[in-house]
Structure formats: structure tokens, C-alpha cells
Symmetry: C2
Subunit: 117 residues, 2 copies
């Protein structure tokens, strides 16, 4: 994943409403959820919600599939997995993270153990 792409994904999730929508869809699992239900749960105006759903779709974090009159939106787990992998590999310095990204070959390995103040 390129940095540009990662920034796009991060920005998409970096908004309270969109993060809430995405979390709801992750929670909903493969069943997904319609805008109607989402809007009711999160108390968002249809047009506003549609705008955010379009944004999340555009960057690939969710996917919508028309089913008769409804649209079933589902979280795209592959994309969020990639984002987490990117953060772990490139941005993370934690013990857990270092273990996973071992061998990524960056100077981050120089990191000394943080003292929990």
C-alpha cells in the first residue's frame, strides 16, 4: 500500500460520523446494513449519511450492493486489514507491533523500550 492510499483511508475514518458508520458495519458482519437502519441508529439525515457512505465506498472501506429497493452495505475487511498492516509495519513501534513486523528493516528497530511513567 502506498502512503497516499493509506492517508486516504485514515482520512476517511478520521471523522466521527464515518468512523461510527464503519464500526456499525463491522459489527453487523457479512449481513451488512441498509442506509435506512444506519441512519436511524446514528440519527443522521439521509443526504448526510449518503455522502459519508459514498466516501467510505470510494476509498474501499465498505461496499454497497443493491437489493431491490434497499442497498446492503458491508465493511470490506480486506481494506481495513491492509491499513492495520500498513500502520503496524510503517508507523508502529510497540512491542506487539514490532514482533509482528519483524524483518521490515527500518530504523524503528532502534527503538528502546518505553518507560511507563
Amino acid at each position: 500500500m502506498v502512503t497516499l492510499n493509506a492517508a486516504e483511508l485514515l482520512a476517511a475514518l478520521g471523522h466521527e460520523s464515518r468512523l461510527a458508520v464503519f464500526r456499525l458495519l463491522v459489527e453487523a458482519g457479512p449481513e451488512g446494513m441498509n442506509p435506512g437502519v444506519i441512519g436511524e441508529k446514528l440519527e443522521m439525515a439521509p443526504a448526510t449519511l449518503s455522502f459519508h457512505l459514498a466516501h467510505l465506498s470510494r476509498v474501499g472501506l465498505i461496499r454497497g450492493q443493491k437489493e431491490s429497493r434497499f442497498i446492503r452495505y458491508c465493511a470490506d475487511y480486506g481494506t481495513i486489514d491492509e491499513l492495520v498492516a500498513f500502520l503496524t509495519k510503517n508507523c508502529c513501534g510497540g512491542e506487539a507491533c514490532l514482533a509482528k513486523s519483524a524483518g521490515s528493516g527500518t530504523a524503528a528497530k532502534r527503538r528502546i523500550r518505553k518507560i511507563t511513567s
Copy 2:
């Protein structure tokens, strides 16, 4: 971590320049780096860089410490670790992620294996 806070962190990293700055500081390790060097590497105007450093500082992703005429900025690994943990627990449905967050008790566990089309 609350969602509000997570959204703030994601938004902070959701900008190409700030993500680049943060990655550079992670890469730099505990040694950190001065704005002068960062600005040179990333070709950013001092005022612009200062603005982004302030933003990253405000949300706790980096920390600056004055040293004579310079300021040493360092990545705060604890914060990014928390963010990755949040994503893994609340937003992630991947195999790797599920393994780590096992027992978080959300409906995400219902997820079926994605078919790689």
C-alpha cells in the same frame, strides 16, 4: 480509547504531509528529529511544517522537547499502539486481527471468510 479520540488520531494521520512527518519520526526512532531536518527532507515551508507538528503534538502522536535552539520531535509509540489496538479490536475483521482480538465479543466474529476474487 473512545471513538472521538480515535477519530482525532485517524484524522491527524489522514493527511499526506502529516503521515509523512509521522513516518519519518517513527523511522528516526528515539533520536527524533528537528523541524529543520524534517522540513528539508520533506520540502515543506517552516510555517506549514510547524502547523502540522502542532497538530500531531496536540493529539499525542508526537512529542517535542526543546533542546537549546532546536526542538527534538519524537513519535509517541504508545499512542499509535493504542490506535492500532483500537482498530484491531473495533474495526478489523481480518484473520490476523481476529486472532489478536479474540474474545472482544462483538458480532464481527460472525464474519465468514472472504473469497479472494
